[in-house]
Amino acid sequence: MAHDITPSGPKPSRLSVARIGVYGFLAMSAIFFAIPLYVMIVTSLKGMPEIRLGDLFALPNDPSFAAWVKAWAQACTGVSCNGIHEGFWNSVVITVPSVVFSIMLGAINGYALSFWRFKGANIVFAILLFGAFVPFQVVIYPLIIFLREVGLYGSLTGIVLVHMAFGMPIMTLLFRNYFSSLPEELFKAARVDGAGFWQIFFQIVMPLSVPVTVVAVILQTTGIWNDYLLGLIFAGHDNLPMTVQLNNIVTTTFGVREYNVNMAATMLTAIVPLAIYLISGKYFVRGIAAGAVKG
């Protein structure tokens, strides 16, 4: 008998038409997002004469970080010409407390809503959800009046409060959904063991919430760091975030347009969210998936 029959057929080819299609699509998407980044980086490393040649995609002949240094320390952001480093620190000072407090608020809300089902919890949750869908431009004016009345308009505290308020619905939703995937018996066991509201929160629930907290940090850091409008309106002149200063550099109307400096300033501004994504991308996907399974 001829041994020409392989029991389970030939090994399936890995490269089917569908596969090629998928890879093609992925490659296109990657290029779509990578090309502007590439252009920005090479432009920021070129000198002005080279840029004027207009060859957008060419690699720099003589790469130099001069434009980066200038963007950081000397570029004019309106009246002063100290670069965007002041804005960078302003952004840090705004972002850190805003992220920390908005996440804490969201986690506590979500915890109270999913484990301590108090009377009216569902209504509170519905209102919060509604809040997530209100376009924030609508409430800016009343918010300005409110902060002015309590004397916090144009202060660091004011802008942090604003970020907390706008972050609360989505943070609450995120944490509530994650918590409802934790076993309820765990919470009951802790109550029988005598732990109170805060002890259960800090000792039982939060240690189990690392993935969702990472997601929250990413969402909030990028959101708040990239914010322009709220910073411009509420932060006050001394606390203007980096994005506002970047805008000032880019839209300066006198002198030559220094494209390399603009590009460098933009890159500097984008570095923080970029770094956060690169460092924690794995957790990001995991946490989103974990929260999505049960809601």
């Binding site: 009951k188 802790a190 029988v192 005598g194």
Partner: protein
């Protein structure tokens, strides 16, 4: 003095009553098992005792103290959950000591109690492991240990063994019984496994739709079930029931196209004498049916055909047909019976159970 006393308890979930006017007294040191099918409210009752659910009406007393509105921690109870509910991020030792640490017990006392519990439950070697690194049986031991270290008066178990395989379940069952004999605490144990209930309990409360059907010793429940539900619930395979009527101490079961079954019940201990003809259900356990060749002198016997045989090691369950319905008979394996053969079976009416068809109560 009652260890746990439940008085006129009502519980509703969004207007849906789950427990209604429930009364239950549990003696000090008693092992009480709550037995019932899925969804009958066993866990709900246990959660009420623990204080994890707010009751709608009624009172709960523990150790002669009204604890209806007290927090779980103030009720002197420990609870073991079906899913173990160990804190995943803590080692076994930290799991055991969590309750004590929260309470602010001093370090030496904690160490002493943890060591003691670990010794009793034989988990000393596991103290530094995380729950994920334990087997199911070990996790369950840790869960019991968590209640043990707190030195409570009442232990509440919610189906603690139902996630384990049959062998381990049997082993841990004995360990829990041993633990109870040693500690002499009050234990309330929820299960839907009747073997667990019969082997562990001092008393069993059989529940159906949030109502306790019968509360008595395992022996009582098995030998004199109060009503049709209890009779059918306990025993495996479950009791055989014949629907018929009774007049002048004679039970008759008629069915068109079949021979009448007539059983003389003059030896049956009726609760009260029946004056008129009553519609009745007669029950007999498969293990109380006998093969008549062996023991000729039986008040009732009938010839039947063997349908199916289920060998179960030491015993065999024989299914046969009578008046077009299927019934079971439990025999020792030595009786070699063939499918399709005709056998004569019978029983002593003293061992039968009679229930009123309308009220389903025992007669």
């Amino acid at each position: 003095m009652h260890s746990v006393s439940i008085k006129n308890l009502d519980l509703m979930f969004d207007q849906v009553p789950v427990l209604q006017n429930l009364n239950l007294d549990i003696e000090k040191g008693e092992f009480l098992v709550l037995l019932g099918s899925s969804g009958c409210g066993k866990s709900t009752l246990l959660n009420c005792i623990a204080g994890l659910l707010d009751v709608s009406a009624g009172q709960i007393w523990i150790n002669d103290r009204n604890v209806t509105w007290e927090e779980p921690k103030d009720r002197d109870i420990g609870m073991v959950f079906q899913s173990y509910a160990l804190y995943p991020q803590m080692t076994v030792e930290k799991n055991l000591s969590f309750g004590l640490r929260v309470k602010g017990v001093d370090k030496e006392e904690i160490a002493r109690r943890v060591a003691n519990a670990a010794k009793v439950l034989q988990i000393e070697a596991l103290l530094q492991r995380k729950p994920a690194e334990l087997s199911g049986g070990q996790r369950q031991r840790v869960a019991i240990g968590r209640a043990l270290v707190r030195d409570v008066e009442v232990f509440l178990f919610d189906e603690p063994l139902s996630n384990l395989d049959a062998k381990l379940r049997a082993d841990l069952r004995i360990e829990i019984k041993r633990l109870h004999q040693k500690l002499k605490n009050t234990m309330v144990y929820v299960t839907h496994d009747q073997v667990e209930a019969l082997t562990l309990a001092d008393r069993i409360a059989i529940m159906k739709n949030g109502v306790i059907q019968q509360l008595s010793s395992p022996d009582d429940i098995y030998h004199t079930p109060n009503n049709l539900f209890v009779a059918g619930f306990i025993g495996s395979p479950s009791m055989n029931f014949l629907h018929g009527s009774c007049e002048n101490g004679v039970f008759t079961c008629q069915k068109t196209g079949h021979k009448d079954v007539v059983i003389d019940l003059s030896r049956y201990p009726f609760k009260e004498a029946m004056s008129k003809k009553t519609s009745m259900i007669l029950g007999i356990r498969p293990e109380h049916l006998i093969l008549v060749e062996q023991q000729q002198d039986v008040p009732f016997s009938v010839e039947v055909q063997v349908d199916i045989i289920e060998p179960m090691g030491s015993e065999t369950v024989v299914w046969f047909e009578l008046q077009g319905q299927s019934y079971a008979l439990r025999l020792h394996t030595e009786n070699h019976i063939q499918v399709g053969s005709t056998i004569t079976i019978g029983f002593d009416p003293v061992k039968a159970h009679c229930f009123d068809s309308a009220t389903e109560q025992r007669l």
